[in-house]
């Protein structure tokens, strides 16, 4: 029996580069496999729901909620190909609209993200068939342009399949001509509707940069895209979003519930909040850019003369008398502009009881929706007793303190 070799590695790196190359390849392959699997799952889902819809046509015609359901389940791949008025109509219904923060949600510091909202035009950006189109909140087109998004430009590269498309929720920021991506709805052909905000932001941050969409503009890429910094809504995150630097002009803060799926229309699971120091537009202005003396609201006239917000279910702010309706020639479904007079809004048990409204006329034609309840209330409190950043920070701190007392108790 010879003595055993006891030499140890001397002045050598522990891992060889070849081993590293193998491992990095394996990592890449595992990631690609995950992506392929993920795409198969979600792509197929959207096809499946379309098939389900077409097999049960009778039921769909019967009730309104069914129709609503159909609009949501509509195959987003087809939506990407819609053109003209059809596209306008479809996209007008697809944006997820935040409610205004009128009180602080529970578990703000654990269940929510916060980010500084860029000032600018909210829009959907759709890339498909070698072109990219952005559409405003009312469905009308903002830009048509080539981009580095999947299938967003006609390049000589044909590696992208025809099914590849993407839909991003963006804000177009005029000063630097940049699309700031605030949410990802579909990516490279796969739908993210059913995914939590947590996952959508993860996917957004890992995928967008890869495409080169965040690069400087070029002939094949007219506008730059950028992600925004999303923070956990704790003391630090909230302070950073509120007071920290951002490459864009801020217009308030957006709060996303981490577990919420992307849901078209108003949702209390995304909230917007602003004050003078993080937004130029805290209190609504009129068409001339002036702050009116009295708060103005836009409400929808219902069949029976009641005045409703855009919420679902809607909140009733009052009722027009039939003779006034006839005299002014108004019709059900019209949007109407009112001022809130000296009587203001009265609440009982946290519910709106009475509003002192004064009719002003019809709003701008581009207007597609009535105001939401939360918007009216936010504007109202902004004029009277605003919800301040200190309140938000205090709610986060009070949670921490409560946790401490629990331990002692």
């Amino acid at each position: 029996m010879a003595p055993h070799d006891l030499r140890r590695p001397f002045k050598r790196a522990a891992i060889s580069d070849q081993q590293r190359r193998r491992e990095l390849s394996l990592q890449r392959q595992a990631q690609n496999r995950r992506d392929a699997q993920h795409q198969a799952r979600f792509l197929a889902h959207t096809i499946l729901s379309l098939q389900n819809d077409s097999t049960e046509p009778e039921q769909e015609l019967e009730s309104a909620p069914q129709v609503e359901q159909q609009a949501q389940d509509f195959d987003v791949r087809q939506a990407a190909r819609l053109r003209g008025p059809e596209a306008r109509r479809w996209f007008a219904k697809q944006l997820m609209l935040p409610e205004w923060m009128i009180d602080v949600p529970e578990r703000l510091n654990t269940d929510w993200y916060v980010c500084a909202r860029p000032a600018g035009k909210r829009c959907f950006v759709v890339s498909s068939n070698g072109t990219t189109v952005s559409r405003l909140r009312n469905g009308s087109m903002l830009h048509r342009f080539p981009s580095a998004l999947p299938n967003g430009a006609r390049t000589n590269n044909s590696s992208r399949s025809g099914q590849s498309y993407c839909i991003l929720d963006c804000i177009f920021h005029e000063p630097d001509q940049t699309y700031y991506v605030i949410d990802m709805v579909c990516w490279a052909g796969m739908s993210l509707y059913e995914c939590t905000a947590e996952f959508r932001f993860f996917w957004l941050n890992s995928k967008l940069v890869e495409t080169g969409a965040c690069n400087d503009p070029s002939p094949y890429h007219r506008y730059r895209f950028r992600t925004i910094l999303i923070y956990n809504c704790d003391q630090e995150g909230l302070t950073a979003a509120y007071a920290g630097p951002a490459p864009y002009v801020k217009d308030g803060l957006l709060f996303y519930n981490k577990h919420a799926h992307y849901q078209p229309g108003n949702t209390p699971l995304v909230l917007v909040w602003k004050d003078e120091s993080c937004s130029q537009y805290v209190i609504d202005t009129d068409s001339k850019g002036q702050i009116p003396d009295q708060q103005q609201v836009v409400l929808e006239l219902l069949d029976d003369g009641r005045l409703a917000t855009s919420d679902d279910p809607s909140i009733i702010f009052g009722c027009l008398e039939q003779y006034f309706i006839q005299k002014t020639g108004l019709q059900a479904g019209n949007l109407l502009r009112f001022a809130i007079s000296e009587g203001g809004l009265c609440f009982a048990d946290g519910k709106l009881e009475r509003a002192d409204l004064h009719y002003l006329g019809k709003p701008n034609r581009a207007r597609a929706f009535a105001d939401s309840y939360s918007k009216v209330i936010f504007q109202y409190t902004a004029r009277h007793s605003p919800l301040r950043i200190e309140h938000l920070l205090a709610s986060i701190n009070s949670v921490n303190e409560e946790e401490n007392t629990d331990m002692v108790g």
């Binding site: 390849s25 496999r33 939590t196 996952f199």
Partner: protein, 872 residues
Amino acid sequence: MAMEVTQVLLSAQSVDSTVRKHAEETLKQFQEQNLPGFLLSLSAELANEEKPVDSRKLAGLVLKNALDAKEQHRKYELMQRWLSLDVTVKSQIKACLLQMLSSTVSDARSTASQVIAKVAGIELPQKQWPELIGMLLANVHQVPPHVKQASLETLGYMCEEVVPEVVEQDQVNKILTAVVQGMNASESNIEVRLAATRALYNALGFAQANFSNDVERDYIMRVVCEATLSPEVKIRQAAYECLVSIGSTYYEKLAPYIQDIFNITSKAVREDEEPVALQAIEFWSSICDEEIDILEEYGSREFTADSDIPCYYFIKQALPALVPMLLETLLKQEEDQDQDEGAWNLAMAGGTCLGLVARTVGDDIVPLVLPFIEENITKADWRQREAATYAFGSILEGPSPDKLTPIVNVALSFMLAALTKDPSSHVKDTTAWTLGRIFEFLHGSTVETPIITPANCQQIVTVLLESMKDAPNVAEKACGALYFLAQGYEDVGSTSPLTPYFQEIVQSLLLVTHREDAGESRLRTAAYETLNEVVRCSTEETARLVLGLVQVIMTELHKTLEAQKLSSDERDKQNELQGLLCGCLQVIIQKLGASEPTKYAFMQYADQIMNLFLQVFACRSATVHEEAMLAIGALAYATGPNFAKYMPEFYKYLEMGLQNFEEYQVCAVTVGVVGDICRALEDKILPFCDGIMTQLLKDLSSNQLHRSVKPPIFSCFGDIALAIGENFDKYLMYAMPMLQSAAELSAHTSGADDEMIEYTNLLRNGILEAYSGIFQGFKNSPKTQLLIPYAPHILQFLDSIYMEKDMDDVVMKTAIGVLGDLADTLGSNAGSLIQQSLSSKDFLNECLSSEDHLIKESAEWARLAISRAISV
């Protein structure tokens, strides 16, 4: 039955190759035609005292090789073959062997010892040859020393061959008693004492019970320690080997002896001959290994009380005396140790041990080493400067950055100056290595106070690039330092401090690869590896320069293909260089392929690169070049569906790679590339699937293939199914039973060790990825119903791995995904089955509340798919 084989055996050792080959052929035929006769003839030859020693030794060796092989599969075959031999033949052979232990010819005894151990290795686990140990023990008590020696040696070999469970405790006790008695100072015969000491080394694994008994342990330890003081150097060395082994096997029993061990080891390190001193240092290195493992275990658990083995902090206690002892060894360098690959001396062992000590105790080592560095680093004698630098480099891993950064900040400019100006190549080698360690452990995004600043970055780069023109061993270390310098900027974002130097760095590295002496000290390899890391860690600022590198490396690769009629030595070199160049291209392709704009720009070279890779394959006969294969995987990913045009020509090499059982890494890499191609081509891979599937199924059925390749093969089934969808139907009848039996094997791990559990989880993940791919592939196809019969088993598999509670996060994520895929594809067809399964309730809930977002994400998917499946 036996035959005269003397002449053949002697001819088999002839210098004349024709004679030798003929003899080898004769032996082979004899073995094939009449195995029992062959083995009997060999044992008779070995046992015949009148035959020449050479033929007897070879007879023993051939006999040994007929019983055992390195390769697992072959080993098992030989074992079965021996067991199935006629009992009388085996008895006859064994009798010959035992009889040989008394031979006066020492070579014959030693050969017989080894063969006996091999037979024991086969028979003892089968409860055969029960009398063997008794006979050996009886021999030990015989008077002639040579019989004693041979029997002890046989016991030692035997302990090496069999696992402890095979031998009864009663017999273990007797073996240990005999061995330890043989080691005792009262044993006057040196050969006996040496054989006993070496036997103990192998028998230590059997001594669990004896080491738990204070009296017996004390006795063994006393005898071992006494043997370290024997006048015979071989015995001292063997005794220290025992001590090293005891240090790692019975760490938790060492406390009462550690002071004595320290005393004898430090005397040995300072005074004894080098082979003994090296073992004495090794004792402390292996104690460090133990304590590093234990402390790591502590770190990964919340409560230290949970740990199986407590840490006794031997190193921390010995520190004040241990460190000076090790520092002394650093001054005992050999002149040319840096040029000698096989060198291992006191200074090297001492420095290595010092590095381990630093990792074990952290900050505490710094004040003990600092004075030594300060005192020696400016001395006129190169030995002192080198020792000081080596000491510094050795303690850079372990202590906290807080402790080290201030020292490094002071030392850095001194080091840079030494690397430029020190007259000793040895000092420069160690200095460059130390700089590499500084960058490895104290530079990077995780380190709070950066040691590399805009103020010194340029100087560092300049010095390292200059140093790459130095002697090969120094230049190699400088490349290594640059490697870690680049790595520290791995996640630096969109602008890297190295950008201004990128061009210069690349040029310098390419120059190094062309040095005449780049073959020495693995300099060329180091230069390419550094180039790879520089590329990997580069940012988009230098993407254009990386793109420019493509043509440079392609030209280099092209040059290697022009060489004709190479000697085997030249062919090895060509092969190695091609590996480095393909590796470099792989890194570049992966880098440029990761973002769309650079990918488009890179695509102009795709045809040329692929053509080069095919030529690299073509210039070899039977094997596939692993690095070229890896690079092709990256290329397929970047190319997408257009890769289809390369398939007709590439396919044969793909098949060749999948058939490579011997070099299993090549096989594994090729399996991964099949996955890349599936994702790139999607259904365009269909024409090649019959061939690929046939090969993969063959691989799985082979027991020659390394087991680590099997999990990726299963995953690859999933990749194929996802790519070709319902066309996978024709493979179901082959693939499903294999998946099913593998699933059954991997469902339970009871009694397995950590390594086995890790492998089982890899296997499970592969199986589950296959199921996922198959379900998703078949979705929305009329052939979905073909999968229904498999659903119960798959759900059962999910339930049983959930019950087993030993899956890792990766398996958990894949498993819950499979549940979703099954529900998604089979829909209402599997609704009630799913509702009955445990997985759809407890397991799903557990995953939904997981902290891991990938698990949670898959679980959300599963919940969605299940709710659809059961609502219909």
